[in-house]
């Protein structure tokens, strides 16, 4: 899992605002700022973990990168290609190299198609294989994700959640992409199955030299799989750092609060440590607080936090944080 320094994906000031229409004439009265200016790189071969509460824009970030939503603003560059400039057919061909594993293994597989059709379809539409070759490739892919190749004539509803998610993984692998966005691939699975899928993802990464953007809200799982971790709050990144650095020395008060909520498997130590319990709810992304997004729930907020938005700056090599109070 050693990451080299080649930047595979570069996201710059990405914004995804969903308009809100109201009234008789359906005028635009505002926007849900799901993603409100995020900038980060993903290096080839690494796993970047992306964590945050539900509704903070993690999934939207992933989908916007893949151009499944049309971004409001900003830039996404993949292997040096500006994805926003690609026209329909060019973008369609680019999808060979970037795939997605979806959160809900029940909703993300077309119930009318057999496993063979589901996994084989990308090969067909991209003319990678034809005829009997497709079946061979499908059988091979199913073997790669530890499924019986004979399952290819069955329908998704005949499988368990974990098996379905592995079908989703096989589908994402079919085109031999270099980059896969895993959008909470284990959140919908039983705990007993989660490890199985995560281990599979790790093995595949090694085998095919994959790069992952791993979206999750389970901090311990992200710690396990990631090389670097990004923390998101209400549409913006608040902290990015190497995994060990982030978990050992979290700088942003939100990251600290998140980490203090992770239980330690030692009851004595767990009882002794200081907990930061956040008060209140996440503000509405349609009407975010001025200045720092987190100030309404921040235990150390000051007056200046309401005035200006903190810059997302590098405080030590590779460690970025967006907080006025961090030196």
């Amino acid at each position: 899992m050693s990451a080299n320094n080649e930047v595979l994906l570069q996201v710059k000031d990405l914004e995804m605002h969903f308009p809100i229409y109201r009234g008789v004439f359906q005028r635009k009265v505002g926007a849900v700022r799901a993603v409100d200016g995020v900038t980060f790189d993903v290096r080839r071969g690494e796993t970047l973990g992306l964590v945050g509460e539900s509704g903070c824009g993690k999934s939207t970030t992933g989908r916007t990168i893949l151009q499944l939503y049309k971004p409001t603003n900003g830039g996404v560059s993949f292997e040096g290609n500006d994805l926003l400039k690609l026209k329909g057919e060019e973008m369609r061909l680019m999808r060979r190299k970037m795939q997605m594993i979806f959160q809900d293994p029940y909703a993300s597989l077309n119930p009318r198609m057999t496993v063979g059709q589901l996994v084989g379809e990308p090969l067909m539409v991209h003319n990678v294989a034809t005829g009997a070759e497709i079946n061979e490739r499908v059988a091979h892919l199913l073997k790669v994700v530890n499924l019986n190749p004979a399952f290819s004539t069955r329908y998704p509803h005949e499988f368990s959640g974990g098996q379905r998610q592995r079908i989703g993984v096989a589908r994402a692998l079919a085109l031999q992409p270099s980059f896969i966005i895993c959008d909470e691939p284990i959140s919908a699975l039983d705990v007993s199955i989660q490890a199985q899928v995560v281990n599979l993802l790790e093995e595949l990464q090694e085998q095919f030299n994959l790069t992952y953007l791993f979206i999750a809200h389970d901090l311990s799982m992200v710690k396990h799989i990631s090389d670097r971790v990004a923390v998101m709050y209400l549409g913006v990144f608040v902290e990015v750092a190497e995994r060990d650095e982030l978990y050992a020395k979290p700088l942003h008060p939100y990251t600290q609060a998140l980490l203090s909520a992770v239980p330690i498997p030692d009851p004595v130590a767990d009882a002794k440590r200081a907990r930061t319990i956040l008060k209140g709810d996440v503000p509405s992304p349609a009407n975010p607080p001025s200045g720092c997004r987190f100030r309404t729930r921040c235990p150390i907020a000051e007056a200046r936090c309401a005035d200006s938005r903190p810059e997302f700056r590098e405080v030590s090599p590779g460690h970025f944080v967006a907080c006025h109070l961090v030196n």
Binding site: S108, P111, R112
Partner: protein, 354 residues
Amino acid sequence: MMTYIIRRLMLVPFLLFGVSILIFGMLQFLDPIERASLYIRGDFKSEGQIQAAVKKYCLDCPIYEQYTNWLIGTIDSVSGEREGGILFGNFGWSKTTSQPVADLISHRFPNTLDLTIWAVGPIILIGIWLGVQSAVHHNGIFDQAARIFSIVGTSFPTFVFGLLVLMIFYANLQWFPPGRLSDTYSQVVRSESFHHYTTLLTFDALLNGRIDVFLDALRHMFLPILTLSYLSWATFLRVTRGSMLETLRQEYVTTARAKGLSERDVINKHARPNAMLPVVTLAGFTVVGLMGGVIITETVFDYPGIGAAAAQASAQLDVITVLGFAMFNGFILIVANLIVDILYGVVDPRVRLS
């Protein structure tokens, strides 16, 4: 799939039994003298003849005996012929048209079926197309225009829209006349050399190689088809559009896009087939409705189908004929529902396997 079909088939006798009980129950509202016309052919001759029929066919016997007689009929002791018995196609005597009800049905039903066959395509295919396009261009100009166009259609009473198109296309333009065939072609059809292979006029015309007869028949069916279509499109549009919008929000549609499918493939191969389930139900009901005879449409356009015949019979209180139609309709309904259920299995693999 086979067990699914067999299980559905096994239900059919029970359903038919239910329908027969209902119809038979309604017959009990008639007094025995009226029920005698189930058996007596021709107009009533004398009081004595009726009394004889009541006695002979046991029309004042206990209900269960009457039911079996009605269902399977009785064997005449003298001639050895079966008399009555709807299981054997004896629906009784239609006094208003002076022929057995079964004959009336067999004359009229092919016309209705012919109309159904030619109307189903425009109604369903264009209706679905409108719905899919509306969903794809959700809240766009096409969507708004199609919804207004179709809602106007549904808001028309059949007889108003029917009269309107008759005035335009028949009275003014003389393009599409009402009725079944022009006089010249009626004679062709009645002539010895015209073979009735299927009893469906348009198909017989083609099989006889008479394109002119075929086109004339279509010309007469055009206005009923137009009326039926325009009045049904809104329903198809709404059901398809709603189901399609729901399907387009599904995650597997996003998956299909992420796979790199073109938008056309996403809609035609992933979204639309999954959106068809409620549409299949609606299409089933529509076809059943058409086959049962569309009373107002057939009456307005003077089309000799089963609906117009039923309307005439009920206007003249010809209860036996009306109940005969009802029994026939029940049969069609059951068969059509069976076909719809089997189509469900084709459309949705989950139905097939559970």
